[in-house]
Every structure is written in C-alpha cells, then in structure tokens.
C-alpha cells in the first residue's frame, strides 16, 4: 500500500531527475556556440510536460491518500495533518523554475543566438539531456498509471457515508478543520490557537508562534540555490555571458541575420527596381507559386474567372512588370496583398511568370477588362514569353 511518505519520496526523486536534466543540458552547453537551453522551445515543451505530469502525480497521490483514508475509516482530524503532499509538488516546480530562470539569464543574447546546432544534437538538445528527459517522462507515465490503478481499485471497495450536518455544527466544524489553503500554509485549526500562544503580550498585542508556511521556507531555500547557481555560472564556470560578451554576441548575430535577410530578399528587389526575369528556373518557380496561390481566381492557364484574364492585352492596373509586381505585393480591390506570404524575389518570379502567359491561348478566356496596353514592356514581355517556350 502506498502511504503519503512514499509518495512524497517518489515525487522528490522525480523532481531531482527533472532538474538533473536541465543541469545536464547546462553542462553540455557552450554559450558562445549554442542557444541558451532556457529558450530552446523543444526543451521548454518537454520540461513543461514533465512538470504537468508531476502535478498530475501530486493530485493523484493526494486523492489516493484521501481515498485510502476513507477506506480504512480514519477520522477527519487526522487527515488535517496531511500537509506534506501539497508542498512537495510546489518545491519541485520552484526547484525546476529556479534552474530555468538561472539559465534564462543569458537573456537578449540567447534570443538572437540562433546558431546552427551541432549534428549530434536531437531537437536542439544534447543526446544525454534528451534521453534523460524522455526517461523521466516514461517513469512519470508509469507512476501515473500505477496511481490510477490503485485509486480505481480502492474506489471500487469504497462505501462513503453522506450525512447531513446542521449549520451551527458546520460552523463549529470549520473551527476544527482546515481547508486546502490553510493546509497549504501549514496553519492550525482556529480552535487550537491557544496551543500556539507564546504568552508574549505588548500593549494588548499577543503573539502566536505558527510554523513557517512551507512554500515560503522552501522558496527561500530555492532563492539561495538560485543565487549560488547564478554566481557559479557567471563568475566561476563562465557558462553564461557577461554584459560585454552578450553585447558582442548580439551584434554579430544581428549582422548575420541582416545579411541573411538581404540575401533572402533577392538583393533587395522592390517595385521600383524589379526587372523581368527570363531564366527558366525563375519562371518555373513563379509557376509553382501561381498554381498554389493565384490559380483559384485566375485559373491555372491565366484565362481568368474571379480575377481578370492575364493572357490578353487588356490590363486593369497596368501590365508592365513593375505594375504587376506592385499589384501582387500590395493587392488592390478584391486582389489580396501577398507581401507577407512571399518575399520580393518570389513576387518577382510570379510577376515574370504572369508576363510569360501573355499571348497564350487559355481554355476558357474571360472577356477583356481594363485598357488595352501595347507598349514596349508589353512587347518585351511577349518576346521573352516566346523565348522561354
């Protein structure tokens, strides 16, 4: 039979396992080359699940104790003494979060420190940390199943008695019993207050001597633990960057990011500088996007349906490459803007593909709309369209 002590013990060991995972992750980190573990989404998710499982175990354990007490016919007052359970999960969570917090202290640098992970890592974690976490989760699932099985068995045997108590007795009972909040704070029933009196009296003020709320006391210990880890990481193991290192890291990362951005933008094309692309790869890329996002209204062959025909000489918003680019990027009337979905480069590819459609024969062409355009750019578009074919 499980008792409260064994559950608490189980809890503690699981929590330690959990925090070891983060520690292992810690140790494996080299701050200059890898993102901070505190901000790794996969790690956060796994730890989050582990903590939720822990909470479930705590709640189930609590239920189990109560159910078993009910079964063995213990009286209510005795149950009031069970206070070790609620504080344990709290201890764990704070323990976990304190180590996480200490890790998160790498702060803004980590935010920008997205550097390619080593090939040996699993979802951004070192293998040791990953398998430790998975192992913890597995153990937790087993414990949850065992607890649920126990509760189920006990409940089958249970035969609770419900009785109706008059209001005055309820009030009296309130003085004798504790609710979850009072248990959480290790308070004693109001009726036992005399036992706590220190006998001190100053100008009519008496002093009780309640126990320290466990969450407060353990919170204090944990904040001291946090301090030790923090100082260790910043000033002994140097596994967290100091202000100057953090600055250099953030600047170099930002530079990289900016470079990557400008590259992805296709050397900074916009509606003023865009030119017709004629390479086969560009036109093909444009075609893929067109079929995905444009064909619904313009038909795959550009013949038009909801949107206008793109193969004829008539244009509502201009038919040169710059106008088409602009119409696609920012949208107009029923045409939606695509600038948040596609990069300027991709929009240029689509616009070029549209230009290549000019003069082709769609299956069901829509009647012409807008003004007829026979300009240099249009000819050029038509020329290049024939060329690509």
């Amino acid at each position: 039979m499980l008792n409260k002590k064994s559950i608490a013990l189980l809890f503690l060991s699981l929590a330690l396992l959990n925090s070891f995972c983060t520690m292992a992750q810690d140790a494996a980190q080299v701050p200059q080359t890898q993102a901070s573990p505190g901000l790794n989404p996969a790690l956060m998710l796994l730890i989050g699940i582990a903590v939720i499982f822990l909470l479930c175990i705590g709640i189930l354990g609590y239920v189990l104790i109560n159910v078993s007490a009910l079964n063995s016919g213990k009286d209510k007052n005795d149950q009031c003494q069970v206070s070790s359970i609620p504080k344990t999960p709290l201890l764990l969570i704070t323990l976990l979060s304190s180590s996480l917090l200490a890790n998160a202290q790498t702060g803004p640098s980590a935010e920008t420190a997205i550097v390619a992970q080593k090939a040996t890592s699993i979802i951004g974690l070192t293998p040791t940390a990953f398998y430790l976490l998975v192992f913890t989760l597995f153990i937790e699932v087993v414990v949850i199943l065992v607890l649920m099985w126990n509760i189920w068995n006990l409940l089958k045997k249970a035969n609770p008695v419900t009785d109706i108590v008059p209001i005055e007795e309820k009030k009296e009972a309130r003085r004798l019993t504790l609710n979850w909040w009072e248990k959480f704070n290790s308070l004693k029933p109001m009726a036992q207050e005399e036992n706590l009196d220190t006998g001190h009296e100053y100008d009519g003020i008496r002093e009780l001597n309640n126990r320290l709320p466990p969450w407060w006391l353990y919170g204090f210990y944990i904040s001291i633990l946090f301090a030790v880890i923090y100082l260790w990481r910043f000033h002994v193991s140097h596994s967290a960057p100091l202000a100057k290192e953090e600055y250099e890291l953030s600047v170099s990362n930002a530079e990289e990011k900016t470079k990557a951005y400008l590259a992805s933008k296709g050397e900074a094309i916009d509606e003023n500088t865009v030119t017709l692309l004629t390479g086969k790869t560009d036109i093909d890329a444009g075609k893929v996007i067109f079929e995905k996002s444009c064909a619904a209204c313009h038909m795959a062959d550009g013949g038009g349906m909801v949107g206008p025909n793109l193969t004829d000489n008539f244009w509502l918003h201009g038919g040169d490459i710059k106008s088409v680019f602009k119409t696609i990027k920012y949208g107009i009337n029923a045409m939606p803007p695509w600038q948040t979905s596609y990069s300027n480069k991709e929009i240029a590819q689509v616009a070029s593909f549209v230009a290549s459609l000019h003069g082709t024969k769609p299956k069901t062409p829509k009647a012409p709309e807008g003004v007829e355009v026979i300009g240099a750019s249009q000819n050029q578009a038509a020329d290049s369209a024939t060329k690509t074919k």
């Binding site: 998160a104 003020i205 407060w216 204090f220 923090y230 000033h235 530079e255 900016t258």
Partner: protein, 707 residues
Amino acid sequence: MTVEKFYYDNKIVKAFGMATVVFGVVGMLAGLWAAIQLYLPASSLNLPATTFGRLRPLHTNAIIFAFVGNASFAGIYYSLQRLCKARMYSDKLSWFHFWGWQIIIAAAAITLLWGKTTGKEYAELEWPIDVAITLVWVVFGINMLGTIIKRREKHLYVAIWFYLATWVTVAMLHIVNSIEIPVSFMKSYSWYAGVQDALVQWWYGHNAVAFFLTTPVLGLMYYFLPKAANRPIYSYRLSIIHFWALIFIYIWAGPHHLLYTALPDWAQSLGTVFSIMLIAPSWGGMLNGLFTLRGAWDKVREDPVLKFMVVAITCYGMATLEGPLLSLKNVSAIAHYTDWIVAHVHVGGLGWNGFMAFAILYYLVPKMWNTTLYSKKLATNHFWIGTIGIVLYAVPLYWAGFEQSLMWKSFTPEGQLRFQFMETVNNLIPMYISRSIGGALYLTGALMMVYNLAKTMAQGSFIANEAAEAAPLVKAVSPQKEYWHRVIERKPVTLLVLSLIVVAIGGLVEFMPTFLVKSNVPTISSVKPYTPLELQGRDIYVREGCYVCHSQMIRPFRDEVARYGEYSKAGEFVYDHPFQWGSKRTGPDLAREGGKYPDSWHYNHMYDPRSMSPGSIMPQYPWLLDNKLDTASTPAKIKAMITLGVPYEKDYANRANADLMEQAKTIEGNLKKDKIETDPDMEIIALIAYLQRLGKDIKGPAVTAQQ
C-alpha cells in the same frame, strides 16, 4: 508590586500627524504638477523654480522625507510609548526632533526649487542641510533609546526591532553617502567619483527605500494592524527570521539599479542574487500581516483602517516581488530607464506607504480625540477612489515603459533603428495623461481624508496626556533558560549593535574592492579633467536637474550603441564628482552628446526645445540665455577638485578663469557664425561647452576599435 502612574505624550504624535497631512498634500501636488508637465511642457511656466528638473526632486523629497517620514515619526512616537509602557524619554528632545525636521523640510523645499542640489537622487540636499539632518537624527535616536531604556516592559516587541534597525541604518547610509567637499555655503562636490559614486549612491538610494520607506512602516504595521484587527500576530518565529534576513540582505541589493552599466560585473551579479534572495524575507512581512487577519476578515469588510492596511500590505507584496524580478538582467534590460520603474515605485509609494499612512491616521485621530471617525462612509470612499487612482496611475505607466522599451530596441530587417527617440516619446502622451488622472484621483482621496479628520477632531476632545499605569521593570535575572532571541529582545543596545553589524556587511563587501582594486575601474589615458568652462557648465547641468530625465550611461546593447554610440566605460567617469548616470530616459541619453549638433542647435534648443526637435516635451530654459555665469566661483571649484584628486596643475585655480574666457569666446564665435549674438560670459555658453564635451574623450580610440 507597586503600580506606577504615568502619561503618554499625544501632543507630539498630533504634531507629526498634522505635518504628515500637510506635506502629504504638498508632495502629491508637486508630483501631479510634474506629471502634467510631461504632456504640457508649458505648465512649467518657464520659471527656473518650477521646471520638471527641480520639481521632481521636490516631489520625491517631500513624499519620502516629509510625508512618509512624518507619518513614521507619528506612528513611532505613539506606538513606542505604549510598547515600552513609558512616556518619551524627553519632551524637549521630542520637540527638538519635530521642529528640527520641519525646518529641514522647509529648507529642502526652498533650496531644491532654488537649484541648490548635490545631483544625487534622494540625497539632493546640500551639505548644511545634511549636517542638520544628522543632528536631528541623532536627537531622535537618543530620545528613542532613552525611552526604551526607561521602559516598563521587559522585552522589546518586533515593531521596536524595526525602529532600531531603521535608525541605525539610516544614520549609516546618510553619513556615508553624504561625504562631500564644500565649495561654498550651498555648493559641494561628492567625495566619490564616477563608478564609485554610482555604487555608493545606489547603495544609499536602494536602502533609503528599504530603511526609510519599508522597515519603519513594517514596524508600524506590527503595531497598528493587530491593534486594529484585535488579533494576535501570526508568527513570532516568522518575525525573527524575516527581520534579520530582511535587514541583512536588503543592503546588498543596491547594484541592481546599475545592471549593464559600467559597474564591475561581479557587483552587478551580487545585486541580482541578493535581490532574488530578498523575495522571501519581504514576503515574510506580508504574510505576518495578512495571516494576522485570519479570523478577522469580517472586520476588514467594515473597518476602513483595515481596508487600507490590506491593500497596503498587498501592494507591498506585489512591489517586493516585482523588484527582485526587475533585478534579473533580462528584465532590467527592458525596464530600466523607462516608466515601468516609475510605475513600480508608485505601487510601493501610493499603495504601501500612502495607504499605511492613511490607515494609521484614521486609527490615531479617533483614538487621541476620544471619539469615533466622523464618517466611515467617506473613509470607505477615500479607500476606493485611492485604489482606483493607483490602478489608473500604474497600469498606463507599465504599458508605457514596456512599449517604449520595445520601440527603442526595434530594428528594421535591414538593420536600421526602426524608431527615432522622439517617436517613442510622442507615443507615451496618452499614458502620461492617464497617469496624471490617476494621481489626481489619489490626491482627491487624500483631501477627503483631510476633511474627514478635521471633522473628527472637531467632534472629539484631544487628550494631550493619556494616563496609563504599569509596574516598574524589576532588574531580577530570570532563573530559567530563555529562548536565545528573547535574551536579545531585552537588551536594546545589543540589538542595536547586532543590527549595525548585520547591515554593515553588505556595503563593506561591495565597496572595498571597488575602491581598492584598480582593475575594477580601468583607467583610460585619453580621459582628461573638465576645462573650467565645462566644469561650470556641468554645475548648471546639475543645478537644473537634467539628470532627472537624461541618462549618461550607454549600456552595451545593440540598439543603444546604434542610437547613441560606443557603450560607456568605467574609466570615462573618473573625474565626475558627482556621477550623472541618471535613472530615467524621458529624454535621450547624453553620454556621447558632444559634437552631435552644432553649438547654435543647443542655443536654440535651450531657448525652445520644440523649435529644434518638434514634439519634444523638454521644458524651456530661457534664463540660461540671460544669466551671467558666476566666474568668481571658478578658483574655489578648481581647488576643491584638486583636493578630490583631479589632476589639475597645482596653481591652476588662479589661471582657470583666463582659460574659461578663451573657450567661451570660441563658442561665442561659433554662435556668431550662425547669426546668434551673445556675450561669452553667459550660463548658456558654459552649458554648451559641457554638452559638447560629453563622451568625446574616447571618441578617437572608439573609432579605431570599430575599424
């Protein structure tokens, strides 16, 4: 055993109580006025005395030392007598304390508006007033200790532990931080410079909050809360642990005001970790307060005194959790220099200190006038209007701080700063308006209290000397073994000395290496002392309270370096007596202002900031264009600087003014080229000289470093 008859002195409590109310209203008005100036710069009236830079120190000093100070004294004088079962040690000392303190406040108000300031936040008062504060504080201490020694109660209650720790720590903080070298009757330079001055100042500034706004008020809570609720204190054990832990840990946390600055990293880390360890001791006070109310929550529904106390204690809990979280580097990176900090401080100030003061006043007046409160309903309305005021004040400022910080840090994907500083300021105007409405509501509530208390006084009759009786203290040594802390509780001097030792440790550990180990402030050979004109300009900068809105500390962040230039180095500030790093960026950082704009830009900008930067909320400084520079003070200032170790040549004091005029004429010439006619010996010229010097010392090497 014979019973002695004696009288409690209520008259001194009444006097301090009255002063609390008067200075509370004055301090809040100053705050409201300053708040309005942030969106209506013209409301500074273009007068030197009423610009933001002088009004804000007046507001903070009035609220901290006049409002909360007097409230604490009122509460201490009331509770100490009753907890010791003795009249105050000496009526004469009581009244010396009272009048001394009020004269100091009046002198502070006059000198601050007059522009006499040391330029160190919450310690702005000049040296003669510093001396007076020390004297009055010592008198208060003698009077308190005298009362405790002639007490008729064997042990000291927890409230008195807090009073004693307050007294001894404030004395230490005030003396250490106020070491300065007088130049003239109302001008002095801080003994410390740059990084060291910053460390001492925020060790003081942080612990002024701790030991002037927190520990005495916790002491008051320990007396007035159980009295009002008629419930025993929740836990004696918790009192002991949280008292000693609180006073020990608090002292260390000062450097959290200087995260990411040029302060050595190890000191910053100490500030962070001690702030985190401070959560539990602070919450110990909150728990001991709130759990004392167990079984009395039905009374909270009825009694305005308890209502105020519950919200006050809750605000205390919120602020003391938020503070440590703000001390984490990544949170500080966002919140520091913004209105977030202003919101945080006001949750403590309006919520904890203000509401505790109101609660105590609502408790004391009916008791001392032997009547009941004139209108419970009005007091309840005061409670609600005050609470709404706090919410309306704090929420917009949290928003403002967070939003502005994110805007500062925002880059375009191309790597450009997304917002000009001015854009981030203009965005805050609606929030500033809302906060002043919140403040106005809070003040309205306070005025309702004034009326309510006046009516209560009118319907009752004041008991100047309240009769009491108790048996005298017998010197007999108790035969049985006492709990160790009970032994300390009956030895006030031991308690006092132990407190001093406990609070001295943190400061010593942080100061010693910063002062003695050279590597903590690496010297930069290109950093030279200020020229006489720049020094004079710097004094004008300090006088006008520019540091209230402008920082001079570029943190090592990508956005700050992009916006202001190379981040600040410890060695740049070695001649800054006092340091002017600032704590809030209502305007942009000025650490590298030198050379950014032409001289004529500064000239026009000081005359009307909006002519040079449209949308600016900076006040106008027309008097700088008309005031003649006081060059007679130059030799004395140079001499003082030499005494402080600034390497001017030995006889430079006599030649300083010649150099000063020469530099002034160059600036005058520059202005003339831009069609501005002025004399060289004007204050504006000196200020321009100082602003154009800022940050230039290392501009050369910084450029090479970038290449």
